[in-house]
């Protein structure tokens, strides 16, 4: 697949940056167009792989933003994006849309810019183009607290109704004890970039001799066609790279032996589904599913693909399961990536919504008494003391 990718806000921009890094490292060519949009000038300086002229600062003339972010307030984020919509539209003009199959908008939903400006950008894209627009959204972890949960719960509604499919990523799933703040986010972004690029880059190699099992862009798009929220599973295994001339000869002879047997292929898919999904969900609630094996085609047996597909058909309780490969002859790993499209049972989203409702109530309570409490604090009991001016 060929993509136009747009990162909105700090988290979205870093994700896009990591996707670019991963595709460069693995010789993929997924992101044909790149754009990052932010309200904070300093955050725009962070990406390593996004060209300078593909970074857009919005809201620098907005009274509340002035190029210094939106203070974690989704409403300000949306307002700023609406005000600068002409600016955003102008940058889209450069995107030669006939060159891409779809548009991907990545954003963190807990912050102000991603949650607020993200849906505004998507609205505009849907107006301008016929191509599907996918969302890639990072959901805040429980420990990020009530405000991010409220931003996310509200933004999730906008995202899911506006995009053609929303791929969710749960921050909590990648939390671990040893990490520093820096490593934590870095690792999460890499993990997510690996999954999303491995999934969507399949079928992009049109010129090479396409095997009969090869996955096509249209298959991926068909699976995503359901709308709703999707989750991605991933597992990979290192291949013993034969070294030296001699072993190369050997390899040719032993091709059949090196090729993974069906059980191993199936095991890899089972691992992909049962290990950390980008958002934990009930696999059986998936509407459609898709498996892609990325690695040297010699390693992937037709039989293995078929047995993995059958297994997932059972697990996901749907007949709409596609499976195929993405031949990467130079790769020293074999990866299985599983897309579970339109999963409806995601406990994490329920939790975020509950946390958000609590947060909204608390915020309303505070708003209601704020002025009164300040006045009573600064005034003595009988209002005998006067202001000086």
């Amino acid at each position: 697949m060929k993509l136009a990718t747009i990162g909105v806000g700090n988290a979205g921009s870093k994700l896009i940056d990591r996707m670019l890094e991963f595709e460069q490292e693995t010789g993929r060519d997924l992101c044909r167009h790149v754009l990052v949009i932010n309200t904070a000038r300093t955050d725009l300086a962070k990406p390593d792989h996004v060209p300078e002229d593909r970074r857009v600062l919005i809201g620098d003339t907005h009274q509340k933003a002035k190029g210094h972010g939106v203070g974690g307030d989704g409403e300000v984020g949306a307002e700023v994006a609406k005000n600068d919509i002409d600016e955003i539209r102008r940058v889209f003009d450069d995107v030669e849309i006939h060159e891409v199959d779809a548009i991907l908008v990545a954003a963190g939903l807990g912050g102000g810019t991603g949650s607020g400006a993200g849906p505004v950008v998507i609205d505009e894209l849907q107006k301008m183009y016929d191509e599907p627009v996918y969302g890639l959204g990072v959901l805040p972890g429980e420990y990020e607290g009530g405000r991010p949960a409220l931003n996310a719960a509200r933004s999730l509604q906008s995202f899911v109704t506006k995009v053609d499919n929303f791929i969710a990523f749960d921050n909590d799933a990648w939390r671990s004890r040893g990490q520093t703040v820096e490593e934590g986010y870095e690792e999460m972004n890499r993990e997510l970039a690996t999954r999303i690029v491995t999934l969507l880059a399949a079928g992009e190699v049109d010129e090479s001799d396409v095997g009969e099992n090869a996955m096509d862009s249209s298959d991926i798009m068909r699976t995503l066609d359901t709308g709703g929220v999707s989750s991605i599973g991933y597992a990979s295994t290192d291949l013993d790279k034969p070294e030296g001339l001699l072993s190369k000869y050997k390899k040719k002879d032993d091709d059949e032996i090196n090729s993974m047997d069906a059980a191993k292929i199936k095991g890899l898919v089972r691992r992909a589904v049962n290990s950390r999904l980008t958002i934990p969900c009930e696999v059986s609630s998936a509407d459609r599913a898709l498996i892609i094996f990325a690695g040297p085609s010699s390693m992937i047996s037709r039989k293995g693909i078929e047995s993995a597909r059958e297994w997932l058909e059972q697990e996901a309780d749907t007949v709409e399961v596609l499976a195929g490969d993405d031949p990467r002859e130079d790769s020293d790993t074999l990866a299985a990536v599983v897309l579970l499209s339109n999963v409806t049972e995601t406990p994490r989203i329920k939790e975020i919504q509950n946390q958000a409702v609590d947060a909204q109530n608390k915020i309303k309570e505070l708003d209601a008494v704020r002025e009164e409490e300040i006045a009573s604090l600064i005034t003595d009991d009988d209002n005998e003391l006067d202001p000086i001016v």
């Binding site: 904070a40 972010g69 420990y143 990490q179 703040v181 604090l377 202001p387």
Partner: protein, 505 residues
């Protein structure tokens, strides 16, 4: 966040000076030179080392009521009270008179270069409160950026008048400013033995620079969750009183041995030293900042919004500790409006946690201050009602009033306190305070006292609350007088009838 700092009065000037010193020490460009200090006497600038001469602005030194240094050259010690001598009303007056001068000096501050302005003032002082209030009004009308006030509260050792001034300053500043940071001097001085003020000023400087200077330092490391100026602004957006907590953890100086350094130089892969902190110690650091002595002690459960900045070497900032710490804040303060960020400083020798609690409403110190101020004001009212000096300058009406109040048993003590000193006047300043109040009463300037100040109202304070307060007083006094009249004798009632006649004439 870039901040223009405007020191007002003695205390304000000193703290701004201290903040500038902290700014240069920590290498966080906070003000970009946008600094001014205002005073009613040049001597207040004597100890400043970081404020340029042209940015030291003397206001009102030609006003007849302002005491110049040469006026009191022959006096010494506690009698040396220059400037407006603790009178906030005079502070307001001279500032209003010199408004063109204030405006001119504000040209030296570029409000497009900074994200906010902060007035720093001692709230108990005549200059800090009076000039501060006028400056605040002025800034609020010309700047689009938020205006914050750092206001030092007087201790219980200081005079009642200063408490009264500070209570009124809080009442005045809070509605005008975007947020007020009162400094609870007393709780800070209580714990230190010597050089209390020096330590207090340094503590304030550390906290404010850690908070507002976060993200301003040139750093090679990239912050994952940088605190933008708008994060601070949004937190303070709710107005009211704000307070800052702070805690730090010193890191051991792990110097690499020569062998390791050599190996690294030769290109060997030398593992980095193990981090000295983990999730638990980071969480505990945040907890310590919550429990630390805040710039204003308060019930943290009354906080409206909260902001946390964690600074230190990136390898020491545990993500889990950071997130758990943030969650802990939500738990302890009961608000969900919490913003948290990191500030990676690879070379730092300590980790610091700075917390901003905005719009805290459970503040015992403010209530105590108000009680003391009300008491003082009532005392002054009684005093001026019975003070012979004040009466001599007034009409016969007051003289008769005086008589009638003699009939009132509750006020029998007053003449004696009036002649001597109020009971609380046990140290130097108060003698003068009493004098000053008397003086201003003569001019018809001062606070509402009794009937004639309500009726003769020619003051320049037409604020509704003022009138109400005065009216309330009048009503109360009248009813009290009426009650006495009714229970005592007809003659008192006659007197009060006669009382009105001279006024009509």
């Amino acid at each position: 966040m870039k901040l223009a700092l405007l020191g007002v009065g003695n205390a304000g000037t000193r703290i701004v000076d201290q903040l500038l010193a902290a700014e240069s020490q920590t290498d966080r460009p906070l003000t970009e030179g946008n600094v001014l200090a205002f005073n009613t006497t040049p001597s207040a600038f004597a100890d400043t080392t970081h404020i340029d001469g042209e940015r030291q602005v003397v206001i009102g030194d030609i006003h007849p009521d302002v005491t110049r240094p040469e006026d009191i050259a022959d006096r010494s010690g506690e009698d040396r009270r220059e400037g407006v001598a603790g009178d906030p009303e005079l502070g307001v007056e001279v500032a209003r008179d010199d408004l063109p001068e204030i405006r001119r000096s504000l040209d030296m501050v570029d409000d497009t270069e900074v994200d906010a302005a902060m007035i720093v003032a001692g709230l108990g002082g005549g200059t800090g409160c009076g000039l501060g209030a006028v400056l605040l009004e002025e800034l609020a009308s010309i700047y689009e950026i938020p205006i914050y006030v750092l206001g030092v509260l007087p201790t219980s050792e200081e005079s009642d008048q200063r408490a009264w001034t500070a209570a009124r300053a809080v009442r005045t500043f809070v509605p005008l400013a975007d947020a007020v940071f009162p400094v609870d001097t007393e709780s800070w001085l209580a714990s230190t033995e010597s050089d209390g003020y020096g330590e207090l000023n340094r503590a304030i400087a550390t906290r404010l620079v850690s908070l507002f200077g976060s993200g301003e330092r040139e750093s090679t490391a990239i912050s994952e969750l940088r605190m933008d100026p708008n994060d601070l602004k949004r937190t303070l957006d709710v107005g009211g009183l704000a307070t800052v907590g702070y805690a730090e953890t010193e890191l051991d100086d792990v110097s690499e041995g020569w062998y390791r350094r050599l190996r690294r130089l030769l290109g060997f892969d030398v593992p980095d030293p193990e981090p000295q902190t983990d999730a638990v110690s980071i969480k505990n650091l945040v907890q310590r900042a919550v429990d630390s002595k805040l710039t204003l002690q308060c019930d943290i459960e009354t906080a409206d919004r909260v902001l946390l900045v964690l600074s230190g070497p990136p390898k020491e900032l545990s993500r889990k500790g950071f997130e758990t710490g943030r969650y802990l804040l939500e738990d302890e303060t009961g608000t969900v409006e919490i913003l948290a960020g990191d500030e990676p400083l690879p070379e730092a020798s300590r980790i610091t946690a700075t917390i901003l609690l905005s719009n805290v409403t459970g503040v015992p110190r403010i209530e105590a201050l108000q009680r003391r101020a009300v008491e003082f004001q009532r005392e002054q009212d009684d005093l001026s009602a019975t003070d012979p000096d004040a009466l001599s300058a007034d009409t016969t009406l007051s003289a008769e009033d005086d008589q009638s109040s003699e009939d009132d048993p509750s006020s029998e003590d007053d003449p004696s306190t009036g002649d001597e000193q109020p009971p609380s006047d046990d140290h130097g300043f108060d003698f003068q305070d009493a004098e000053l109040v008397d003086q201003s009463d003569v001019e018809g300037e001062s606070a509402p006292s009794e009937d004639e100040s309500g009726k003769d109202e020619t003051e320049e304070e037409p604020t509704p609350t003022d009138d109400n307060a005065a009216a309330d007083d009048t009503i109360d006094d009248d009813t009290a007088a009426d009650d006495t009249a009714a229970t005592e004798s007809e003659s008192t009632a006659d007197e009060s009838a006669a009382e009105n006649e001279p006024q009509k004439q």
